[in-house]
Amino acid sequence: MSMVFLILSILSMAAAIAVKVMFVPASDGIDISGAHVFFTIKMPIQDLPITEAQVNSWCVILAVLFLCLFLTTGLKTRNISIRQMVAEWIVEKVTGLVRTNMGEYFEGFAPFIAAILGLSGFSSLSSLLGLFPPTSDINIIAGWAILVFFLITYYKMKAGPWIYLKSFGQPQPLLAPLNIISEVATPISMAFRHYGNVLSGSIISVLIAVGLTKLSNSLFSFLPGALAGFPYLRIGIPAVLSIYFDLFSGCLQAFIFAILTMLYVAGGFPAEEYAARKKRRQERAAAKAARSQTAGKHADN
C-alpha cells in the first residue's frame, strides 16, 4: 500500500516533466524568460493566465502530499520501520523548532511550518529535474507571503483591534506612517528575498552554461566535424555551482522563510495584553456566574 503512494509521488513529478516536454517550446542560447503561459482563462476584471509555475507548484504539492502519505501509512508502536523513523524524526525536529522559536502557545503551528518548509524546499529542488522552479516566480512566493501577512495581522488582533491600532503609535504617534510602511514591507521583503535568491541562482546558471559553451567551442574548434561543436566544458563544471545555487540556496531560503514566519507571527503577538484580556474575561464570566447563582437562589426563596 505504501509503495503506491511513493509511485504516485514520483508520477506527479514525472507529470510535470511530461507537461514541460510536450507543451513548452524548446529554446537555445541565452534563454532567461519568465514562466511559460499555457493558456489564459477569461475573467471579469483581469484574465487569469495558467503558467508553468502554477502547474509545477501543483505537481510539487501533490508530490509532497503523496510523500507524506507514504511516510505515514501503517504506523506501529513496536518494530517500527525506517519509514516511520524518518516521519517521527521530521515531526520531532519541526515541533522542537517551533517550540524554541515561538513558545508553547504556538505549538499548533508545527504542521504549517513543516508545510512551508516542505513546499518551498521541494519547489526549489525541482529545478534539479530540469523544471521551472515555482519559487523563481514572484506570484507563487507573493501568495505565501500574503498568507503569512494575514496570519501576522490575525495574531496581532488577538488582544482586540484597539491594541492593534495602538501598536502603530508606538513609540511615538508621529511615527505611525513609518510603522504602516514597515507593516506593508514585511510580506514584500519576504517575497523578494526568496524569489530573488532562487531567480539569481538560475540566471547565473544560464549565463555560466552559455559562457562554457562558447569557451569550449573556441577551445576545441580544431577537432573534426561534429566533435568540435560538442560543449565539453559543460560536463560536470556547472554541477559544482548547482550544489550552491540549487541545493544549498534553495534549502536555506526555505528554512529562512519558515524562521521569519515564526519570528514575525510570534513577535507580533501581544502576549501580555492577551493574557490580561483573557484573565479579565474569566473574572467577568465568574462574576456573572456568581451573580446568576445568587439571583437563582433569590428566585428559589
Binding site: 528575498r193 524569489y195 530573488g196 539569481s200 540566471i203 536555506l252 524562521i259
Partner: protein, 95 residues
C-alpha cells in the same frame, strides 16, 4: 531619429541596471563582518559552532535583502522596462 531614441532607451536601461547593482557592495561588506564575527565566536567557543553557524546564515540571508532589491530592479530594467518604454514611445509618436 527613432533609432536614436530606442538606442537611448536601451542604453539608459542597461546603465540603470548596472548602477542599481552598486547596492551589492553594502550586503557584501555587511555579510563579511557577520562571518568574521562568527569565526571569532567559534574560535573563542568551539563547542557552540552549530548555533553560531545557523544564526550567522540566518543573519546573512536577512542582510542580503537590500542587495536582492537592487537585483530585482536590475532584472526589471533589463527584461521588462525596455519593451514597456519602447511601447510608450511608439504610442506617443503614433498618437
Amino acid at each position: 531619429m527613432l533609432e536614436l531614441a530606442i538606442g537611448i532607451i536601451l542604453g539608459g536601461c542597461a546603465l540603470g541596471a548596472g548602477c542599481a547593482m552598486i547596492a551589492g557592495i553594502g550586503p557584501g561588506i555587511g555579510e563579511g563582518h557577520a562571518v568574521a564575527k562568527a569565526c571569532e565566536a567559534i574560535g573563542r567557543q568551539p563547542e557552540c559552532k552549530g548555533d553560531v553557524t545557523s544564526t550567522m546564515l540566518m543573519g546573512c540571508a536577512v542582510a542580503e535583502t537590500t542587495g536582492l532589491y537592487a537585483l530585482v530592479i536590475a532584472i526589471l530594467l533589463i527584461f521588462v522596462a525596455p519593451g514597456r518604454f519602447v511601447d510608450l514611445l511608439m504610442t506617443t509618436i503614433g498618437g
